[in-house]
C-alpha cells in the first residue's frame, strides 16, 4: 500500500511555530498536481508550545480517510521524538533536523533515518529568531519536495500568489524552500520509492473545510441573521459567514449590510436571538459545539413547542464538559435528537464532508421553515476544520427558499379566522403569520400550554392534541430529510452502517474487506427522523456493524429507540479517542467479530 501516489506522511511540530502554512502548502501543491490528497490537522487546545501534527495522505484511488500507516514522519519536536519515531511503519522513513547530534530517541531498527540541518541552515541564512523559526518550516517543505518529487514550479506559483505583494518575504520563502530542497537532493537518493507523479484526478474538485462550506451554504440559503458565541471547533463558521457576507451582501453605494451578525454574550442568548429572528421571519442560525448545545436546551424546547424555525449547526467535539476541544467526536447525537426537557424530537442532518455541509445547510433552512421547528446540522471537528477534497460546489439559480406555510395579509383576507396551531392539512404543520402583518393575523407565542388557536390553556385534551400534532409533524419530516446512501455488494452477508465523517474510513474498509473475501452492504444515514429506507435496509440484514465515533453507541441507540431494531443484530464499532477514524480500525473490528461469531 505504499508506492507512487499512494502513501502517507506526517509532520510533528510545535504549536505556534508557523508549521500550519508549510503543511498547507504541501497539501495544496499535491492537490494541484492532480493527485487526490487528504490533510488532517491534529492540534492541541493551546495557542503556543504544545505538540501538533499534520498528516497528509496521498491516494491515487481517492481514499480520504486518515491513513492507517505512515511511510514518512518528519520529527521536528524533541518533546515527541519517541512517539513520532514509533509511528513510522516498518521499512518507512524518518526525517529530522540534523543541526544537532542524532537524539537517541530517534534511533530505530528497520527504518531509514534522513537528516537535514534545517535549523543551522536557517540560522546561517536568515536574521531574527522569528524568521528563522518560520522559515525552517518552508525548508522542510523543500526537503519533502525533493524526497517526494513535488512539482517545484507549482510551489513557486503558490509562493508568488501568497507573497506576491511582499517581495522580501517572497525571496526569503523561495530561499528557504531551495535550502531544504537542494540539501535533500544532494545528500539522498531522491525521490524515495514512494513519491508523486502528476495525475488528472482533482480537476473538478476543491479543497475546503466544512465550516467554510456551511457558511457559504448559509449565504446561499439567504440567511440574514447569524448569532453565535465563540467555541472551538465552530468559530470559523461564523467568521467565514461574516467574510462571505462582506463579499456578497454589502450594498455598494452605501456600504450598508444586508445581514446582521451578532456575537452574543453566551449560547443562551445566541439561541434566543436566532429564535427571535426566526419568529420575525428571517432565516437565522447559530453555530456552536457540545457545550453550547447544552446551554441552548431550554430555548430549543421553546422553539419546538411553539413552532419556530431555527437552524443550529453543531460542530461536535470531544465531551463531556470541556473535554478535548480540538478533538473530534460524534457524541452529541442523542442530545440533539431529544434536546430539551419534555417530549421533544428534532430534525437532524448529518453531513459527511464539506460538500454536504454546503448542501445540507441550505436544506436545513428549508426544512426549518417548512416544518417550523429547530433543525440541526451535525458536523464535527474533522469535517469542520480539516480541508477535504470534494467535488466543486454547484448552484441552481432556479432555487427558491421553501418558506413553508406563511399567511400574508392577502391570504389572511381570504380566511375567516386565523388559528395559529390549527392543522388544516393533516400534516401537523399549521400556517404561521409574521409579526407586522396585522389584523386577524396577530397572535401570541407562549411557551406555556396553548391550544390550536394559540390561546393559553391547561386543558388536558388540548395539550395532548398539540404534542400529538408536533409528533405527526416530526414523523412527516422523515420523507423530507436526506435519504441514506446505500450500496450493495453481491453476496454480502453483513452490512456496515455509519454516519457523517466516518464514511471515508468505512468505504475504504469495505474495499479492504472485499479484497479479503468479506462482502458488505453499506448504508450511511443522512437524516433524522429515519426514513423508510433506513428501516428496510436494517430489516434486510441479519447482522449490521454500526460504526460511529462515541463511547455509548448513540446512533445504534437511536436506531433501536426509533425503529425498534433489536440489540444483538447491531454490532457496535466505536471509536471515541478523538482522532479521525481509520479504515484499519474498522477492518480489524469487523474481522475480530466475524472470527468470534461467523456471520
Amino acid at each position: 500500500m505504499s508506492g507512487v501516489n499512494d502513501f502517507a506522511f506526517k509532520m510533528g511540530t510545535v504549536n505556534g511555530t508557523g508549521s500550519a502554512s508549510a503543511n498547507g502548502l504541501l497539501m495544496q501543491a499535491i492537490f494541484r498536481m492532480g493527485i487526490p490528497v487528504t490533510g488532517k490537522n491534529l492540534f492541541p487546545s493551546n495557542i503556543q508550545g504544545l505538540p501538533t501534527w499534520y498528516e497528509i495522505r496521498v491516494s491515487k484511488d481517492g481514499y480520504r480517510a486518515r491513513p492507517s500507516a505512515l511511510d514518512l514522519v518528519v520529527a521536528l519536536n524533541p518533546a515527541t521524538y519517541a512517539k513520532d519515531v514509533a509511528s513510522v511503519r516498518p521499512g518507512g522513513y524518518l526525517l529530522y533536523d540534523s543541526s544537532w547530534p542524532l537524539d537517541p530517541d530517534l534511533v530505530r531498527e528497520g527504518i531509514t533515518i534522513l537528516g537535514v540541518p534545517f535549523g543551522r541552515m536557517c540560522v546561517e541564512s536568515f536574521d531574527g529568531d522569528r524568521d528563522r523559526t518560520l522559515l525552517r518550516n518552508i525548508a522542510y517543505a523543500g526537503a519533502l519536495a525533493a524526497l517526494l518529487k513535488i512539482d517545484t514550479a507549482i510551489v513557486e506559483t503558490m509562493l508568488s500568489e501568497k507573497f506576491g505583494k511582499k517581495p522580501k518575504l517572497l525571496d526569503a520563502n523561495h530561499k528557504a524552500f531551495a535550502l531544504g530542497f537542494d540539501y535533500a537532493a544532494a545528500h539522498y537518493d531522491c525521490p524515495l520509492p514512494f513519491h508523486l507523479e502528476p495525475m488528472d484526478k482533482t480537476g473538478d474538485c476543491i479543497l475546503i473545510d466544512g465550516n467554510a462550506a456551511a457558511a457559504l451554504g448559509a449565504v446561499y440559503a439567504g440567511a440574514t441573521v447569524g448569532a453565535w458565541y465563540p467555541i472551538t471547533p465552530a468559530t470559523a463558521l461564523m467568521e467565514q459567514f461574516s467574510a462571505f457576507c462582506a463579499k456578497y451582501r454589502v450594498d455598494k453605494a452605501t456600504g450598508l449590510h444586508k445581514y446582521a451578525i451578532l456575537q452574543a454574550e453566551d449560547e443562551l442568548a445566541a439561541a434566543g436571538i436566532v429564535i427571535g429572528a426566526g419568529w420575525a421571519g428571517a432565516r437565522a442560525f447559530t453555530n456552536t459545539s457540545g457545550p453550547g448545545i447544552s446551554l441552548m436546551q431550554e430555548f430549543i424546547g421553546l422553539a419546538y413547542y411553539t413552532d419556530i424555525p431555527a437552524v443550529f449547526i453543531d460542530v461536535q467535539r470531544c465531551g463531556p464538559a470541556t473535554g478535548m476541544p480540538t478533538r473530534t467526536q460524534q457524541a452529541d447525537l442523542l442530545s440533539l435528537a431529544y434536546a430539551s426537557h419534555g417530549d421533544t424530537k428534532h430534525l437532524i442532518l448529518f453531513p459527511a464532508d464539506p460538500r454536504e455541509c454546503f448542501e445540507m445547510t441550505v436544506q436545513a433552512f428549508d426544512l426549518a421553515e417548512r416544518f417550523q421547528t429547530p433543525v440541526f446540522v451535525a458536523s464535527d471537528l474533522d469535517i469542520g476544520m480539516n480541508d477535504w477534497m470534494v467535488k466543486r460546489f454547484d448552484w441552481d439559480d432556479s432555487y427558491r427558499p421553501d418558506r413553508g406555510k406563511v399567511l400574508d395579509a392577502d391570504a389572511l383576507k381570504k380566511i375567516e379566522r386565523f388559528s395559529r396551531y390549527l392543522d388544516v392539512d393533516g400534516d401537523g404543520i399549521a400556517a404561521r403569520t409574521l409579526p407586522g402583518v396585522g389584523g386577524k393575523g396577530a397572535y401570541f407565542v407562549r411557551g406555556s400550554g396553548h391550544d390550536k388557536h394559540g390561546l393559553y390553556t391547561e386543558d388536558a385534551e388540548a395539550y395532548q392534541e398539540l404534542v400529538d400534532r408536533l409528533r405527526r409533524k416530526f414523523e412527516g419530516a422523515a420523507d423530507h430529510v436526506p435519504k441514506p446512501l446505500i450500496s450493495h455488494q453481491a453476496g454480502a452477508e453483513v452490512a456496515l452502517v455509519t454516519i457523517g465523517g466516518c464514511e471515508a474510513a468505512v468505504l475504504e474498509a469495505a474495499d479492504l474487506l472485499r479484497a479479503e473475501g468479506i462482502h458488505t452492504d453499506y448504508m450511511r444515514i443522512r437524516g433524522f427522523p429515519f426514513n423508510a429506507d433506513v428501516r428496510t435496509f436494517l430489516g434486510r440484514h441479519e447482522h449490521t456493524f454500526v460504526i460511529e465515533q462515541n463511547r455509548d453507541a448513540q446512533l445504534r441507540s437511536l436506531l433501536q429507540i426509533e425503529l425498534g431494531v433489536t440489540r444483538d443484530t447491531m454490532i457496535p464499532i466505536l471509536d471515541y479517542a478523538g482522532l479521525p477514524l481509520t479504515a484499519g480500525k474498522v477492518v480489524s473490528a469487523v474481522k475480530a467479530h466475524l472470527a468470534e461469531v461467523p456471520a
Binding site: 440574514t224 429572528a277 426566526g278 431550554e298 448552484w395 396577530a442
Partner: protein, 351 residues
C-alpha cells in the same frame, strides 16, 4: 386560568385617536393577575400611552420573559404579535426579532426576578447593544409567580410576608443602566399614571433601549408593612426628579402654568420630552449627575423617579450592525443569494 377575551363592545361615544382607534382597541385579554396587582396598572398606562401615541397595533411586537409581570404582554394591544418567551431571556429574543425586522416597535415587559436575577446578563447586553425597544421592569422586589421569594431588587431589611428579613444588597436597574451606557433611563410608580404615561410614550419614541423601572407592588406577597415595595412605602418615599410630559410634534403643546423650570429634550423622531425638574439644577442629559442624584436619593431612603437620563444621540444596535434601512425580512431572496455565477467565480479560490 385560561385566556379570557374581553367582550368586544364599543361605546359609541368613545374617543378615537388619529387612527380612528379607541382605548379599547389597545386592550388585550382579561388579566388573570391578582386583583390590585401593580402590574395591571402598568398595563393600563401602556394602553393609554400606545393609544395617545397612535401606535399602529400591528406594527408593534410585545415581548416578555416569565413571571406575573411577563404576562402583561397578553393584556394589551391584542392586535399586536406577542412573544412570551422563557425566564430571563426576553432581551435576546427581542434582539433577534429587532435584528430581523427593524420596522416594528418592540415593547418588552419583564419583572425584577426575570431581569435582575436569571436575566441580568441578557438585560445588560441588550442595554449595551442599545436594542431599539421599550424595556419595562415591573419591579416588586419579589418573585410573584413562584409565591414570594426575595428577588435581587429586594432592599436590605425588607421582610418577606413570612417575616424573614432580606440581608443582601439590592441591584438597582436604574444605576445598572446608567453604568452600562443606557441611553434612556427612567423610573416611575405603577400607581402614578400621570407620571408613567408620558414616560412610556417618550420611551417608545426613543431610538435605542429605553429602560423604565416601574415600582409595581405585589399585593399578594409584597404589600405589607415590612416591605419597601408596598404601595404605602412607595407613596411615602418617592422623590420625583423631573415631571415628564411627552409631546409629539403633531400636537399643540400645552403646559400647565407652574412657574417651575422647564427643560426640553429633543427626541430622535422629532418628538420631545418636556421636563419639569423638582431640583432647579437637575440635568437629565448628564449621566454623572443622574447617577449621583439616584445615589443621593437612595442614601436618604428615597426613590428617584421621573426621566432620569436620556441621550438622544446614542447609536442603536442597527447603527452598530451597519444594516441597510430596509428591514432584513423584507429584502428579496434574489438580493441575498449571490447565485451560480458568483459561486463558479469563487471556486478557484479553493484550488
Amino acid at each position: 386560568m385560561t385566556s379570557i377575551a374581553k367582550p368586544p363592545v364599543k361605546h359609541p361615544t368613545a374617543r378615537t385617536n388619529g387612527l380612528g382607534l379607541t382605548l379599547r382597541d389597545y386592550e388585550g385579554a382579561m388579566s388573570t393577575l391578582c386583583a390590585g396587582c401593580g402590574h395591571d396598572s402598568v398595563t393600563a398606562a401602556l394602553v393609554q400611552a400606545a393609544w395617545e401615541l397612535e401606535l399602529e397595533p400591528h406594527r408593534a411586537a410585545k415581548m416578555s420573559g416569565i413571571g406575573c409581570s411577563s404576562k402583561t404582554t397578553a393584556y394589551f394591544m391584542k392586535q399586536s404579535h406577542g412573544f412570551n418567551s422563557v425566564h430571563g431571556r426576553m432581551p435576546s429574543v427581542t434582539t433577534g426579532a429587532a435584528a430581523a425586522n427593524k420596522g416594528l416597535t418592540y415593547i418588552g415587559i419583564s419583572g425584577d426576578g426575570d431581569s435582575l436575577s436569571i436575566g441580568l446578563g441578557q438585560l445588560s447586553h441588550a442595554i449595551r447593544r442599545n436594542v431599539n425597544m421599550l424595556y419595562v421592569i415591573e419591579n416588586n422586589g419579589v418573585y410573584g409567580l413562584t409565591k414570594g421569594q426575595f428577588s435581587a431588587s429586594a432592599d436590605v431589611g425588607s421582610t418577606s410576608k413570612k417575616g424573614e428579613a432580606n440581608e443582601q444588597a439590592p441591584i438597582d436597574p436604574v444605576l445598572l443602566a446608567l453604568t452600562l451606557g443606557g441611553t434612556f433611563v427612567a423610573r416611575s410608580f405603577s400607581g402614578d399614571k400621570r407620571q408613567l404615561v408620558p414616560i412610556l410614550k417618550a420611551a417608545i419614541a426613543h431610538k435605542g433601549l429605553a429602560l423604565v423601572d416601574v415600582i409595581s407592588p405585589c399585593v399578594s406577597f409584597n404589600d405589607h408593612d415590612g416591605s419597601t415595595k408596598s404601595y404605602a412605602y412607595t407613596r411615602e418615599h418617592e422623590i420625583e426628579a423631573v415631571q415628564a410630559d411627552f409631546i409629539p410634534l403633531k400636537r399643540e403643546i400645552t403646559l400647565p402654568e407652574t412657574g417651575e423650570e422647564v427643560r426640553t429634550v429633543e427626541l430622535h423622531d422629532g418628538g420631545r420630552v418636556r421636563l419639569r425638574s423638582t431640583a432647579a439644577d437637575y440635568d437629565p442629559t448628564n449621566r454623572e449627575s443622574a447617577y449621583a442624584h439616584v445615589r443621593a436619593c437612595q442614601a436618604r431612603n428615597e426613590i428617584a423617579t421621573g426621566l432620569l437620563f436620556v441621550d438622544e444621540n446614542g447609536r442603536d444596535m442597527h447603527d452598530h450592525l451597519k444594516t441597510v434601512p430596509t428591514p432584513l425580512v423584507d429584502i428579496p431572496f434574489e438580493q441575498l443569494c449571490p447565485g451560480k455565477a458568483a459561486l463558479d467565480a469563487l471556486m478557484p479560490r479553493y484550488r
